[in-house]
Each structure stands twice: as C-alpha cells, then as structure tokens.
Symmetry: C3
C-alpha cells in the first residue's frame, strides 16, 4: 500500500499533544469545541490477551483479545482535521499477531495493512481524521482471524468531533456533561456435549470451536463492557436531573438497537456528524460495524436501563446497563395517580 516514492507528509501547522486513554465506560479528557489549530494526537495502545469471566452465574469465560486490557478498547477522541498517531505494541508474551483497522481513516485497509505486529513488536501509524462522526476500530489480521479477533473483544471506538462541536438541525450548539461509552460485544462461546461452556487453557485454544459457534450467527452472550452486569450494580453510571449524557455505542460486528428505558434519544447520530441528528427516538440503530452517538438530557430521577432492545439479548444475553439519576421528580411528566390497589370486578 504505502510506497517509498510517496511524498513525505506535510505536518506544518500541527501541534503535538498526548491523549491519555482511559478504561471504558469513561472518556479521555477532551475539548468539545476545538481551540487552536489542528493537532497530532499521540496515543499508545498495547494488546493484551487475558482470561475474563463473561458471566459469573454460569462461569462462562473467554480468553479475550484486547486493546489496553478492556472490552471494548479505549475511546479515542479528536476533532475533524486532527491526526491520530498511534503506537501499537504487542507484548512478547502474546500468542498472536494483532493489528488495527480504523474505520475513521483512509487507505491501507484502515491502517490494518500497515500495523501487523507479532508478539514482541511495535509499530507507529499516523492517520488524518477527515470525516466527523463516531467510528469503530478493530483488529483484522486476515481471513477467519478477523471475526475471531473481533468477537473476542478486540474493538473500540474513535469519536471525531466537528471542530466547532455538535449542533442541532438549526445550527445551535449541543453540549454534553458526560460521556457513557458502551461497547456491545457478541461472544460465541463453545459448549461441550453437556451444554456447558468449555474452559480453555490459553488464548487461541478455542479457535476451531469458536469458528463453529460463530457460523450459527447466534451469540451466546451480548454484553456491555465485557461481562454480564459490568455496568449494573457497582458499575452503574451516575447522573443528575438536568445533565446531558452522550451515549456512544460501539458494535464492531453485529447490529444492535439501543434504547434508554424511561428516556429517549433526543439527538441521535447513526451515520456521521456531517449528517443532521435524528430527533426524539425511542430506539436507535447500530449497523453492525459501527459506532453511534445519542444525546439525552435527564428530566426525571430514578434508574434507567440502557439496553439492546431485542429484549431477549438485553435480559438473557447480557445487553443491559444501568444509569442512576438523582434529582426531583416531575409530576407534570408522569404521575402515579393511583398506586396499585385491589379492585373488585
């Protein structure tokens, strides 16, 4: 792809900054409206192959393939016109080759063709964010290894903000107070003849069995942030009435349909930030291989469940998170006029 006769890049006018990536569901420090000129944003990601428990109830586990140890990988944020300069390291104790394909980038299979790192190798890739929107990134080593790595957790999202920030249909600024970065992961965990999930000794040992399970196109789990219940209980996200959340939903492989029970998608960008946001949605759509953004301002306190609204996937496969919102109840929006009571027919 890249050829040695190509002209060197012209980096004049760019300022170098470092972005410290953080674990999901959180977002790195960033500006919503860009100040100053375009930036070269330096980030580092290290691949990690680690055994994670997907569901404590059944003991289902997987040798996850990850960027920086989390499923999904960390959220990266930049503005349109910035460049991302990634150092990708694959530690020596890995068992597999990895790489990275950024949907936000242009050429070389999204960088996948230029970033194949074997255990003990590192590489540096720089690419320009020319299109605003939320975009998936994922490992794509080639052939059947592509869905194998992606369905073992090796994916995440980049958000490329417009330089002047998000806007509604009339051009008014839209600002958020917090980001909830949610990666939905479809796992296809092999079972033995008794129907029990198989435990494997090392990363990669489940390869043949996994391919067979993947061909069913029916995941055994579809979880947020790596495990059933990762974002409920202790992991629930906290908000206040009047706060605005930007929900970034990444699904690198399979369609999803997020819904915030008790709330809405006030503004939803399913496609890109160069398209006007859709408004007032009950449920929005994640084309498999896409990251999307949805914005909501809380009007009522209480527990909100954020789910994949295939309710089987939400309740039985794991696709449920909780948002806990504090503040005063508004009886004008909803009122329990008569609490449940006996009646005679």
């Amino acid at each position: 792809d890249a050829d040695s006769t190509a002209k060197p890049a012209d980096l004049t006018g760019y300022t170098r900054v470092r972005q410290d990536l953080v674990a999901p569901p959180f977002a790195p420090a960033h500006e919503q409206v860009a100040t100053g000129g375009p930036k070269i944003i330096e980030i580092t990601m290290e691949t990690e192959e680690r055994l994670i428990v997907v569901d404590e109830d059944t003991g289902a586990s997987v040798w996850a393939l990850t960027y920086n140890g989390s499923v999904p990988g960390p959220l990266i944020i930049c503005h349109e016109g910035d460049m991302i300069e990634l150092t990708l390291r694959n530690p020596e104790d890995s068992t597999m080759e990895h790489n990275i394909d950024f949907h936000a980038s242009t050429g070389a299979l999204g960088g996948g063709g230029l970033t194949h790192v074997y255990p003990g190798e590192e590489t540096v890739l720089r690419w320009k964010a020319t299109k605003p929107g939320c975009f998936t990134y994922h490992c794509a080593p080639g052939g059947a290894m592509i869905p194998y790595h992606v369905t073992h957790g090796m994916n995440g999202a980049v958000m490329v903000l417009p330089r002047d920030g998000l806007k509604d249909k009339d051009g008014n600024a839209l600002r958020y107070d917090k980001i909830a970065y949610i990666g939905e992961q479809d796992f296809y965990l092999p079972k033995d003849e008794n129907g029990d999930f198989i435990a494997y000794e090392a990363a990669g040992d489940d390869y043949a069995d996994s391919l067979e399970a993947m061909r069913t196109l029916t995941p055994t789990h579809s979880v947020f942030n790596g495990a059933v219940g990762a974002l409920t209980g202790e992991g629930a996200l906290k908000f206040k009435v009047g706060e605005t959340v930007l929900m970034i939903h990444n699904q690198s492989n399979r369609d999803s349909r997020p819904h915030l029970i008790g709330g809405h998608g006030n503004f939803v960008w399913e496609t890109s930030f160069s398209d006007l946001p859709m408004t007032g949605l009950e449920t929005w759509f994640v084309r498999g291989g896409t990251a999307v953004a949805a914005m909501y301002t809380f009007e009522q306190p209480g527990v909100y469940a954020y789910v994949n609204h295939n309710l089987i996937e939400a309740a039985l496969l794991g696709a449920t998170a909780h948002f806990i919102v504090e503040g005063p109840w508004d009886n004008n929006l909803m009122e329990q006029v008569v609490a449940p009571r006996s009646f005679s027919a």
Copy 2:
C-alpha cells in the same frame, strides 16, 4: 422513583376526554389536527391471559399475555402535549404480575416502575406525551420476565401526532383516510422431541421451555395481529384507489422490514414525527422495540401483500397481510402488453 415530596402536577388548561380503545388493526376515533387545548386522555386497559391458536395448520398455540385481549394491544392516539391517563387492571383470575412501559413517556422505566399490578389489582398512571411519533408500549415485569411477556404478545403502540398534523418536507399537510395498525409478533414456541409444538395447560407453564427457545433468537413464528393469516382472507383490509393509508407497524422486540408489494412507502417516519419523513421507499425498517408509520396513496386496484420482506418470515413464519384495493386500473403505470403465451426459441 416518584417521591412524595414532588410538587403536585399542574393540570390547569387541560380538558379531560375519554378514548375508547378498539381492537387492531383498527384505530380509535381521533383528530388528525388537534382542536382546542391540550387534553388528558383517559383510557382503560385490562390484562388478559388467553390461549390463542397461532397457526391453524400446525395447531401451534400459545398462552398469550395481552392488553385488552388482542395481540398487539390496542392503538392509543394523542397529540403532542396531551397527557395519557391509563387505568390498568389485572383481573383476579390472572396467574401473573403485569405492568406497562410506554416508550413515549419519560421517567420510571417508562411507567413500568409505577404500574406493577398483581392479579386483582389496578393502578392509574398519567404521563405527558412530549415527543411526537409512534412508540411501542409493552409489559416489563423485570429480568427474564420482560422478554417472556413481550414475546407472548404483551405489547402495542401509541401514536403521538404533532398538534398541527403530519407534514411533508416542505411543510404541506399530509392526511390519511385510514389507519392500518399492524403488530408483528415474534413467538418462540417450544417443541417436543418429535418437533411438535407443545400444548400447555395454563399461562406460564411454558416459561422454562420458552426461555430456552428464545435463546436461539430464532422465532418459530412472526405473525401480524396474533396469528398466521389474521389479516388475510376474511381479515384483509379494504381500500379504494386514491385513498391514503397510514400503516403503523409495531415490533416491540425484533427488527423488521415492512414492504407493500405493488406499492411503496411514499412517506415513512422510522424515527419520529419531529424528523422529516423519508420518501419513496421500497422497504422500510423497524428497529426492534419501535413503532413506525408509513403513508401510501393507492394508484392501482388489486391485492397488495404487506409483508416483512425477509421473505422467509413473510411466507413461512406468517408475516403477511393483504390489502384489497378497488378502482380503475391505470395502464399508464403498468400494462400487461403481452399476456403469457407459448413461444418457440
């Protein structure tokens, strides 16, 4: 959720009216453009657990969980700014707890948190319709009971019209002559070891088997209005050339893709009525957990099949309705120039 220290609702300026709900595929009496000020619309729904035959050919049946006895539950219609005041009753001879989550509402899990009624109980919930669009409602008792109740028929739709009615992209009024309210229901009916559908004695007896069937994510049936053929033959809908139909498609759990064979979606609102309608669609999309609206004006007589255009689901799983249209044929739009005849090659 609702707390006792909250300020009382301010209901000044609202007029109370009663909406008599009717069985699908029909719509309650309503205005397309609101007259007068905002209304508090009183409705009553009663849960009913009843055995229905899903497919007469195979005898497949289900102990359906319903609102007002029908699958889907009745269509509710209001205008943006109105309030819905629902009395929900669960009769004493029920076997299960039920509640209701309105996607159109705000807070308390869409009202689900405030409406849990056990057999013999009633409750009253009032909520304000702040966002225009078609929205799903469904039972959501908690945990695995959520998809269990939803996939046993306990769902329906609310249409929240803009106060000044529907409009095209240029702001011109769009009016319909009739509504076709269609609920697509995915059933996951358990089979015995011979592959025959199991008959159960009472509602709830299929719980464990159903969860197992649901995990396949592959429905045994996907029917319109509760049964294979409910909207064909005697149940077919009737129209005239020149009439405009508003097709409201509710699917509370699973994606669908409606198509009107021989016609189009002239105007389609997949997201909300606060977004401009899409135009000239061959097939539109229902994000699982969504109700959508599509408008078409008939230009030709004949039989139109309204289907989920996964044609396997249409032809083998039951997702087919018929619209019968009377009027003059227009040879300018289509002409059989040569009827089928023998030819020699």
Copy 3:
C-alpha cells in the same frame, strides 16, 4: 388486477430505445443525466435454472434460479419518468414457473401478478418508473415458492436515476466514473446427517430440504455475485485514485451492512434518490428487500475489501469483494511512521 375496461396507455412523447443488459458486477450503457424526453426502454430477460458451485472449497452447490444466467440478475438503469418494457421468457427446458416483481413499479404485486410464465412461455410487461432510487426485483411465484426462488438467486436491481442526475445536499451534481453492482445472496444449502452439503440432480429437487434450512433463518452462505470469491482474485474490480465508484448493493431477502475497508460511503442513499444522501458513513444498511447506492472517491491506492460488516458473514459465509486501486500514496492521509519492529518492554 389489470382489467379489460381500463383506458389504453398514452405513449405519446416517449421514444423507444433498447437496453442491452450485461452480467454483474457491470452496468449497462446509460446516461447519468437524461437527454431528450422520456423513453420506453425495451429489455429482455430469460430465466435460467443452472447448477452453480457456491464454494469451491467445500463443493457446496445449488441449482440456482436466475434471470439471464447470473446471480444477481442484470442491473437495469432508467430515469424517473421512463417506462421499462420487459420481455420475460421461460425456456421450454425449465422445470418451474417464474415471474417478476419490480419494487420500482406500481400495482399488480409489482408486476408479479401479470408475468407468471410456465416453461415455454413468454410475456411482455410495461411499467413506469415514477420514483427515483435503487430497487430490488425478484421472482415471486406465490407462497413458499417466493422465498425459495429468491434464496436460489432469482433477484436483481433497477436503478431509477433522477432525470438531472444525482446531487448532494446542496444541489451540486454528483457524477460517478464506474458502477460496482453487487448482489448479496443468502443461500440455505441443505446438509446430510454427516454435515456435508447435499448434491441434487435437478432444479427443484432440494425444495423440501431447502424450506427446512430456510426456517433456521441462518444462511450457510452469503455471497457476492453467486459464489465465494466471485469478486476477489481474477474477479476483483479495478479503479484509480481520484475515480468515483457508485456501489449498488442488492439484497432481496435479508438485511446487510456494507462497509468498504479503508474507505467510506461519502454519499449513501439507503432509501431513495428523492431523499438527500447521507454522508461520511463507515457502514451503511440494506434493509432486507432493498437495493441501495453508495458513492466513494478513492484517495489512496491499494486493496480495499468491500464486505458485509457482520465479519462472520464476510469471512466465513463469503460476503467479501476486492477493489484494487492504483495511484500515488498520500502520506498526509495515512503514514506508517514506524514499520513493525521489535521492542523491549
């Protein structure tokens, strides 16, 4: 449907032209902006039932049902306001009845009701293209034969261009250099008790087994242009940097989500050409039973994989094509700053 009392069509002002259809992934000769008045475009299609190898590796094969011998059938192109006049022939050595349903047309089940041809029969149907967009056509003989014929390859696409061509949101002309016409075909190939694909002796012999396989809703293959690898290797499409491709994706039965690895959908029409194009998409959506168009201008040389971004379907089921692009690499868009090298932690 068509009745004998209907007024004859008024064909004054139309010019008759002939469109010579070509095999996919290519497009027939056509104008992007219409010159002159409306046209009656005469085309001929012949059904052909033929054994094709779907996957050379496994020997999986199918008695495909086709229009003009290819899967998908040929791309037809016209402008809004034109009429298509199709002669459809079913040769005497066929085993089955066929017909055609054009989603772009109006009435008579899209023409399906007027075009049933038995082996040895021909028919002529004329219909007016009143709505601009890309539209599926497919065989629809009735009942279970509908999904059977469609999932055996009997489908294709019509593109109805606006008379003044495609435009961006601001009304600027959008022109393409080449069309890549891709039909994604979900096959449900029956297996024997050993898990081997069954070979059948003649078209139609797989009917009962196929229906059983189709009920799983899980295809064994999802291929571009009839076979695994049809559009890779020798079949890869060729482009140059700076060229603009219009990718037309037809899926007559099942949802898909195309993605161009290393590129984007600069302009995407998921619904119709009467809606503004969406912009800057990573992955777009094909509602099952839809043809869509996406436009991209290549900025980098190299191999691009065009996939259904359910990566399991892309890598294991066959939904992958290759675009090979020549030209100079642009280090400003992407640069391999450090090639993979060893590092010590």
